[in-house]
Symmetry: C2
């Protein structure tokens, strides 16, 4: 019943082949750079999310269970629990704010499943930074390619791809850090397949970040068990696709280990609805150009935003009354940008901001229209000045910023989330892992 | 997004309503009697299964993780771990032999998910026997009705119903023992729904019993988290059916709490392939009748077995060479029965038995034919004696034995699995739980 070796259709063998053979040096520099930025982003977002209710409840569950002090629980003052439990809590904590990285190929979030699994196992094994980054990079590439392999039909049927593709990726990352051979990895993937899951019906509840944590824990568990001799059917990976509305297009996996898709990762730079981000970027560009020309913000008479019509039902609340509603309001986020507020900071989106007379006045200057010709990742902004002049800019999130610009933005975001000093400490730790410092160099700060 | 109260289509509310209101006295006596027999069966099968490799690996994982000594790990000399982990190991251990109870309505195994979850939480909470049995009975009825609600299409699509329906049932049993209210229970079910799973592609590997253990652990986890304020979408229960090829026929749930289906539970009385059981029962009846008439076993000239043709490819190995093959051989199991060997005992199915001259001689007297007119749960046997006389008997597993006969059979099976004294101790402990002895009265023997 279980195929003894790799063959066409043996997805587990293909994944295991990549995950056992890959070396960090095989990846292009921009993939490794993007990975480090995602790691900084993950660490800052997770620390900022540790105060959320979902994070607190998961953390208290695993701390209450206790056990072997293998791996750090984020936001628990350095407390450690068994790796499987740490991955569960940390995945939930990292996704609690929904402010982490995404990949359009994967149709989901990557950091929140892969890093918690890899970090927990790396700490348990006392791994060096390079081994950890190598395992995480394997996870990222596998998750994105598997996301494409499962296809959009899988997501549209109701599955939370973050947790489904993510579980397989977490399994590979954990298995690599445990030094599993290809045959053990195939069994680990078969074991992950029989329990991978996550429903989009959970969106809007704590069960969404829980899905991420559970997928990370499953990856650790599957790798541990397979490494100890547990058997499973590697063909269950294909059975997972067949039973979960997956397309299972093998061509989507052809580039694994050759076409590195990590550089196309997308980070969130604003702590509000993703639908507002392209407009915020365009507005920022137009405003910077105007201010370079000597224009003061108070000279802005009108901000015209054109966006894909689908967003008009999602994030166009004209007069938000709460911090949460402000995150879904073009008018409000544009007003905040005009007023120089930091839209990367969680605290900017407060109930008080919705009653701030300065912001209310600016809010009235924003006009939003739908344009079906725009991709839903893009927006156009026209800044009309009291002088009668205009500044125009457009932005498409599908075209990522240059790496240096991304580094600046993510370091600024981290500072907005956890403070300058702590963000700088996290970044230095990430850089130290690149130089093979022990993984505790980073986990000790979480 | 989350419905505030029970309404048509609100499956979670319907389940929670039953699970909060049910009292043990509401169930007919035969349902309670069947539950106690299933509990004895579970305990004996789990203890006998503790030596299996899958059980050992899971047990070593949770013992290695350690933590709060809440709940007994079966086969670990009284060692205790957190309830969630104990449920995981014990579900795997209980299903490792595939010798546990089944329900045709549920299309799966019930004990191996429900008892591990209920026992772990009951121990943690220091519950009395009645509260434990009440929770377990809730789980059994819910699992069977949910199995019917998901329907055969769900199973045929590739899902392991033991683990899918079972996860919801385990959640209800755990939630009841934790004293959750109906609203918390709805959220617990929503949380279980987003992570319930299990693939039939795992059959034939250790991942099959793992599915049972993982479902039990998920039930405990979902109940714990919901009880601590975790949110989830109760509508995810319906979303689970919609995304997992479930029929979602509400009529199947109409009888929950009114039509108790537990008395129809089916136990395995022979440690071999289920396809041989009806024939073994019929042979036993014919043989008993012959011996009552003064016939000695050596006077049997021929055993004619008629079975549904589907079994001819499954369990009709004419000359088995190993203990495993013997379990899939009508000729061999019939020979063992003629020779007075105990087909309930695992040790009977040995490689040595396949080379035993007495059994080889008897094996030659067995003739097997397929009869498509028979249900696949039934068999007919004709015992032809050297005198020329014949004894005929037929058996259909779909018609359960009277409760007193079942008690005798399960107690004999338990004795065959763990020895007379230990089996008697387990049975006395089960009876003590009926009288509300603390659940540790049983768990202390595991």
């Amino acid at each position: 019943m279980i195929a003894p070796c790799a063959q066409k259709g043996d997805i587990a063998a293909r994944l295991a082949g990549f995950a056992t053979a890959f070396r960090l040096a095989d990846a292009p520099p921009e993939a490794r750079a993007a990975l480090s930025l995602s790691l900084l982003d993950f660490a800052a977002v997770a620390l900022a999310g540790a105060g959320e209710e979902a994070s607190r409840i998961l953390r208290e569950m695993v701390l209450g269970e206790g056990g072997a002090g293998e791996s750090t629980v984020i936001g628990a003052g350095g407390a450690k629990v068994p790796a499987r439990a740490a991955a569960h809590a940390n995945g939930t904590t990292a996704h609690a704010l929904d402010y982490d990285d995404t990949h359009f190929l994967h149709i989901g979030h990557l950091a929140v499943v892969i890093f918690p699994a890899a970090l927990a196992v790396a700490e348990r094994e006392g791994a060096g930074g390079r081994a950890f980054l190598e395992a995480a990079l394997i996870g990222y590439e596998a998750a994105a390619h598997l996301g494409a392999w499962l296809g959009r039909a899988h997501y549209e049927a109701g599955f939370h791809q973050t947790a489904t593709s993510g579980a397989f990726a977490a399994t590979l990352a954990a298995a690599r850090l445990l030094g599993l051979g290809a045959e053990e990895m195939r069994r680990a993937l078969g074991l992950a397949a029989t329990r991978a899951g996550g429903l989009k019906a959970s969106f809007g509840t704590m069960a969404k970040p829980y899905n991420a944590g559970a997928a990370a824990a499953l990856g650790v568990e599957a790798a541990f068990l397979a490494g100890r001799g547990f058997t499973a059917n590697p063909g269950a990976v294909e059975a997972f696709a067949a039973t979960h509305a997956g397309v299972g297009d093998e061509a989507a996996l052809a580039g694994l280990g050759r076409d590195f898709v990590l550089p196309a990762i997308s980070h969130k730079y604003h702590a509000c609805c993703h639908g507002t981000h392209a407009a915020l970027e365009a507005l920022g560009e137009a405003l910077a150009e105007a201010m370079d020309g000597g224009v003061a913000p108070e000279e802005v008479a009108l901000v015209e935003i054109a966006t894909h019509p689908r967003w008009l039902d999602v994030c166009n609340i004209p007069a938000p009354q709460s911090g949460l509603e402000a995150k879904f309001s073009y008018a409000m986020v544009a007003a905040m940008r005009l007023a120089g507020r930091d839209t990367a900071a969680l605290a900017s989106f407060s109930d008080a901001a919705c009653a701030d007379p300065a912001l209310l006045a600016l809010r009235e200057k924003v006009k939003v229209t739908g344009d079906p010709a725009l991709p839903d990742t893009a927006a156009r902004v026209v800044l009309r000045l009291s002088s009668g002049a205009a500044r125009r800019a457009a932005h498409d999130l599908a075209a990522p910023l240059p790496m240096a610009a991304r580094e600046a933005r993510i370091r600024a975001k981290a500072a907005a989330l956890v403070g300058e000093a702590r963000a700088e400490g996290l970044w230095q730790a990430v850089r130290a892992l690149e130089e093979d410092a022990p993984v505790s160099r980073l986990s000790g700060l979480l």
